[in-house]
Symmetry: C3
Subunit: 418 residues, 3 copies
């Protein structure tokens, strides 16, 4: 990521690409139609440390420290002429191969900007659509357990020429394993749709300003008649899953034949300041019991002390690369070099898993929990491709009928993408 969307809107912060060649030359080049190939990947080296009271360990289990890689991705992307684009990238941390974005995009069908086929993120939340290269915190907010993440499917994308509105709808195989193969005669399908818009978009580099508003909806049938929003077994703070569950929630299996996901999202950028908020919910039709409704939300703010602003990709409807003004270089005398960019960040998140019909957890205990999570930290961007992230998170689960406890998590990441 960024994926190769041929008519891609330039990220405001990026340096302008080389001039397009004259139209005739360009067409000749298209008709040669040799595939372009570009390596892509990322490295995220993390250290995550937990501090818990004995009572917290009794409730949540012992949250173990983790030293290692959150993501080691390697792959390629490219195009064939202007009609086809593709991405093939896998996750290599954790010992197995996990498919991430592996898809082919058909970009020359009249009436639709792109038809994408393969394994990729369902168009849903703002956080989910924002690549891990550009998210504000080490981990997405807890409500992310209610987002569908990546599955095998087909999806269409539409936008007008001014790229101020973005619509997408697709059909996906719910619960596609990370090996990329969903086998079986079950009807575990999902239809997911997302609509976002930019009522304000002023890409002037010195007074960058935007307002992003949107929503998403998904109607789903789970595989094997069971939903599990909290699939974590044990308390791994350094999961390489595409969409890891929260360590603060009890694992619960919900027998169900269908469920719906709902999302509302809003964000604004005013120069160096940005704010972002989402609400996500799931309504589950349990097989032999009443409906379950769980939901969550977050509000996050960030501020660049060094004058930069967050980037935005108009054909993805998501945040994007930051253009660092004075990157770290070795030459100490050039006035254009510097110490990079610094971004101060904070987020408050809330998750309500107290639905009265929620089944008991894996150990037979009540699973109903209200979770408050507060995160603050700083991101140091050495340049537009490398950053060091520091996070402190206080996680405060309120299990219904039991006392709340606080767990403290400290995390640091050295991240680079290419």
């Amino acid at each position: 990521e960024p994926p190769p969307e041929p008519p891609a809107s330039p990220v405001a912060a990026r340096p302008p690409e080389a001039e397009d060649p004259p139209a005739a030359d360009r067409l000749a080049g298209l008709l040669d139609l040799k595939p372009t190939i570009q390596m892509r990947g990322r490295v995220e080296a993390d250290a995550v440390l937990a501090s818990q009271s004995e009572q917290s360990k009794a409730t949540l289990g012992d949250l173990m420290n983790g030293y290692g890689f959150r993501r080691v991705r390697l792959g390629a992307q490219g195009t064939v002429g202007d009609s086809t684009s593709w991405v093939s990238e896998v996750e290599l941390a954790g010992g197995n191969v996990r498919l991430r974005d592996v898809f082919v995009g058909l970009d020359a069908i009249p009436g639709v900007r792109q038809v994408r086929i393969g394994h990729f993120r369902e168009p849903y939340s703002l956080e989910g659509m924002t690549s891990s290269n550009f998210i504000t915190f080490l981990e997405r907010a807890p409500q992310n357990v209610l987002a569908p993440a990546r599955n095998w499917g087909v999806c269409g994308f539409w936008w007008p020429d001014d790229e101020r509105v973005l619509f997408s709808v697709g059909a996906f195989r719910d619960g596609t394993p990370s090996n990329g193969q969903s086998l079986g005669d079950d009807g575990n399908w999902a239809v997911t749709t997302r609509l976002t818009g930019l009522p304000v978009y002023e890409p002037d580099e010195d007074a960058f300003r935007l307002v992003h508003l949107g929503g998403a909806f998904s109607q789903r049938v789970p595989p094997n008649g069971v939903i599990n929003f909290t699939p974590r077994t044990g308390s791994n703070l350094l999961s390489v899953d595409d969409n890891p569950g929260s360590p603060f929630l009890a694992p619960v299996d919900i027998p169900a034949n269908g469920y719906q996901l709902y999302n509302l999202q809003a964000a604004g950028v005013w120069g160096s300041f940005s704010a972002q908020a989402e609400w996500s919910a799931a309504g589950v039709q349990q097989t032999d019991a009443g409906s379950v409704f769980v939901h969550g939300s977050y509000l996050a703010v960030s501020y660049f002390t060094t004058g930069e602003h967050r980037g935005y990709n108009r054909t993805r409807g998501s945040f994007d690369q930051v253009g660092v003004r004075r990157p770290l270089i070795r030459s100490r005398t050039d006035p254009r070099g510097g110490w990079g960019a610094v971004e101060l960040v904070a987020r408050f998140a809330y998750l309500d898993f107290t639905s009265p019909n929620l089944p008991p957890d894996a150990n037979g205990f009540p699973a109903a929990t209200r979770l408050y999570e507060f995160t603050t930290g700083a991101n140091w961007y050495l340049n537009s491709y490398t950053r060091v992230m520091l996070n402190y998170t206080a996680g405060i689960p309120y299990p219904v009928g039991a006392p709340s406890t606080v767990a403290h998590i400290f995390g640091v990441r050295y991240a680079l993408f290419f």
Copy 2:
């Protein structure tokens, strides 16, 4: 694939490469001998659906639908000067790493065009030597279970300057696991040889014409004293195996100390029309019972409604890339752009596993089966690197002493290679 065979015969349909530099410059470049490196890979996103009667399910088991990737390969290839070529490509679908073509070729030994060392396809059938990028159907014909596919080994390749005859012979470690390591003191070796020729070869783009004739033979010792031509456990229609077994055959273990494989192959291209046929057989010396002889064959035809012809690689003796005349591009006004190429395809295949000495299947039932398989479909080439394939297959196994049933399989693939 195509692998880097330095004196590679140009595929007739490909646009000509840039002119060779003058000999002196070229030699200077060779003596610098920096390795060339080129990424390669492919993505094949499949949906395969089965329709069976209850009786068919009772006989064959329930053939499950599959949505996912048949192949996600990533790797690199290159050369060092004109003396060394190499390929290193792995299969990433299915959760593990499976080695595919991983070999080094020595191209400057007098008396042999290439000596190849590593893990690669034994030189055998026409279908097997044709890359999955260029095969006519979603899956190779059922007789492919009698082909050796890829193993660890050493192989030499010879051809005259006019590239009208191709001979190869190699020694391979039979049953090399897909992790690329065959351990043990057993003598599970194979010697495989293939001879093909082009009695007719007229590469004129407007009246392309060729006749390919050939044969192959392999003398083999199986690992652990057991052969299994039908290693499928369960009925996975979306196997990522290098050489998946037929879902229509019962799994049978044949205890044996040695076996032979025989192949005859013929193909012709007359402009847009092509026909291709093969016969493959295996003779097995069972350890404590009489010999087993099984065999199969197929006849396939294809026709491009849009004027193209199938490509052919003379130093591989296999079909190759199709040069699409009017690729799909977004510009609707340029007369050179179009909607791509369309190929209509049909194949009849037969497999005779009725040898009287065949042991019973894994469940103790008689395994003898005669299989008829009919496949038809269409391939839409968006450009020379991307195609959508549609197949319908009727598989009709006749188990000896039991009634025959029909299973219907519908498949669609979006395939791209780079």
Copy 3:
């Protein structure tokens, strides 16, 4: 490897790179700061055969022949400006993904040449720091079981402008699994430091000469309170481990809370002749028993019959690429082409695992062993990137209180890196 160390000392044997651009242009380029990306990888196809007496099989187990890949690595490396360098490479042989060098280097911090964060070799022995592309024999000497190999950690590197001294010190997570994730609250950390110098360094291509002297030390806490220097289960002569154990030692678990590693290293190159020697030792504080001290050493010599010399990398303090003078090319008439380079090699190695407090082996038998290993062979370099290696090893373990036996191992490798 070689990893991207921006102020990298040129390997003496390499052709000079293109001239640096003028300073102003170079700075402008740095401030654009697009990541450079370069694929890297290697293929090592091995055949290893063992010959043992029945008595040797009874003592050591049956050493099985191995045909396959010792290493199939694929990855990328690059830089972002002059402040950041990175490597991301994985091992693909053996069926799983094993992380090798995966790290980000920060190259613009005042006072330190590079700070490296991620998964990489701890700075320790001369053999260990020398890439498998450039080691003299198929396998490193048996004392390599006393080297820490790769772990997750942070390390700083220092050298003066003349690159004649190299110092490094780092903190690492002892026993990081090859999936790159060390989880748990244990204090399994290590501090490792290495100091090497070049009292003689005369890079004149026609009279290349150097003397390398150095030492390394590591203070370590093992994971789970147990050390195992001989973790081999079964006798795999073709292990893809980063640091495979010796097939001639009995596996022993040593319960311990801490241990130290000591290394002394020396090497010299006098034109085509080179000699290299190391001594490594481990002192273990057993939990409930007396201290264990084990140690080993080797002396290796090599001679190029074709006039080349071994390469050396001054910012890694390790041997490096050989510049082959007359590489193998197909043109038989050009006087600059030839048959490549030939290096004759021999090594004597010794390992003393007779410490009186050593616990019994996994079967309860005494584990104390004195091992003598003699290896000789030849390396044929087709060019600077490709070589065929031939080794014969006689391994003579002297188990204390039991008769010694000889095992003969023959190995051949076709190796290429890019």
